[in-house]
Structure formats: structure tokens, C-alpha cells
């Protein structure tokens, strides 16, 4: 029985989601920076959690282990949603960072 699930490392999503944490470092002008990075790491953490759950339930379903269909479907959809959100926030931050770095001081 496959019981252990590496934090979605094997699907290859983990490094990508970990990436989302990095842009937070260089962007630190004023007080709004904390809310950005907080928002970002919050989104990233949630994405990791929902992805973990989705992967665990999917593995169970694939092995035929009586897991409720609706549960798997809901978990996978949540994972997609939080992943999408995390990516959107990352993109906004990267854009903001590039704008800021183009400003002449």
C-alpha cells in the first residue's frame, strides 16, 4: 500500500510553488511590502496544503481505495483554485517589482 506522499514533490509541482516565495525578498519598499509578501506566502502555503491533499486523495483513488468520488473532485478543484490564485499574486508582484526597478531614483 502506498501511504506516504512526498509534498507533491513527485508531480514536480513543489519546486514551482516554492519559486513563488522568492520574488517577495527583493520587493521591500515601504510598509505595503509586508502585506504583499504575507499575501504571497499565505497563498503559497495554502496552495501547498491543497495540492498535498489533492495528491493524497488522487493516489488513493487510483489504487482503488474506496475514496468518495466527490471528495477527490473537490480536492483537485480546490488545489487548482489556490494554485491559480498563488500564481496570479506572484505575477502581480513580479510586474510590480519590474516597474519599481525601472523607476529612476
Amino acid at each position: 500500500m502506498i501511504t506516504a506522499v512526498s509534498p507533491f514533490g513527485k508531480t514536480g509541482l513543489s519546486p514551482a510553488v516554492a519559486e513563488l516565495d522568492r520574488p517577495a525578498a527583493p520587493v521591500s519598499p515601504a510598509a505595503s511590502a509586508t502585506s504583499f509578501s504575507e499575501a504571497l506566502s499565505g497563498a503559497a502555503t495554502q496552495a501547498v496544503a491543497t495540492l498535498d491533499r489533492a495528491e493524497a486523495l488522487s493516489l488513493q483513488a487510483l489504487q482503488g481505495g474506496g475514496v468518495e468520488t466527490r471528495e477527490v473532485v473537490d480536492a483537485v478543484m480546490s488545489a487548482e483554485q489556490s494554485l491559480q490564485a498563488a500564481i496570479a499574486i506572484r505575477d502581480k508582484i513580479v510586474t510590480a517589482y519590474l516597474e519599481i526597478s525601472r523607476m529612476t531614483i
Binding site: 500500500m1 513527485k10 488522487s58 493516489l59 487510483l62 487548482e80 494554485l83
Partner: protein, 125 residues
Amino acid sequence: MEPVSLFDLAAQQARWLSVRQSAVAGNIANVNTPDYKAVDAKPFEHVLESSRLAIAPTHPDHIPIGTAPGAVDVREDADAVVSESGNSVSLEQEMVKAGELRRAFEMNTAIVKAFHRMMLMTTRT
């Protein structure tokens, strides 16, 4: 147990489901053949076990599908009720199996599709 790639597991299950589907087809095709005994695939857990061991012991009455470890064994269903013609196929049971196979297959492809989508999401800008 060591973690397994989701996509690998899905591929293995898809193969197992396909082989089982062909076994069901063979049973249904031979529902009126005298002395034909219904066959079925070994449960999926067994396939996973043997792929881990990487050594598949063979017995004369096994019909292993493929020579790779994790091969799917299809063999006679000893529990099947034999009719007076020597045939042991129950059409109802086979149809039920077919239904289960279909559902499992749908789940399998849906899971693969969703995770594939998520993979693509993370690699796009």
C-alpha cells in the same frame, strides 16, 4: 512505502484497467461457448506489489501479460458458477465489472488531466 509519482501510478492503473477490460470482453464473447471458464485479472494491489519486488514468479497456470515486472496476470476465476454446458460466465457479473472499469477509467483520466493542467499552469508566466 516509498512515494510514487502520481502520473506513473495513473499509467499503471490505466494499463491494468485495459487488460481487465479485455478479459471481460473475452468472457462476454464466449458466454455461450461450452466448457469456457471465465477469466479475470489479478487485483491491482498485486500488480503494484510485484512491480516493487521486480521479480515475478511464474506458475504454469498463470498467463502473465508482458514480461515486465508489474505484469498483469489474467487467470480463471475459481469462484465462478459452472453451468451444465461447462460454461462459467455470468453476463450480469461481466456487465457490472464493465461498469466499474468505466468509472475507474474516467476517474483516472480526469485526475491525470487535472494534474497535467496544474503542471502547465506553473510553467507558464
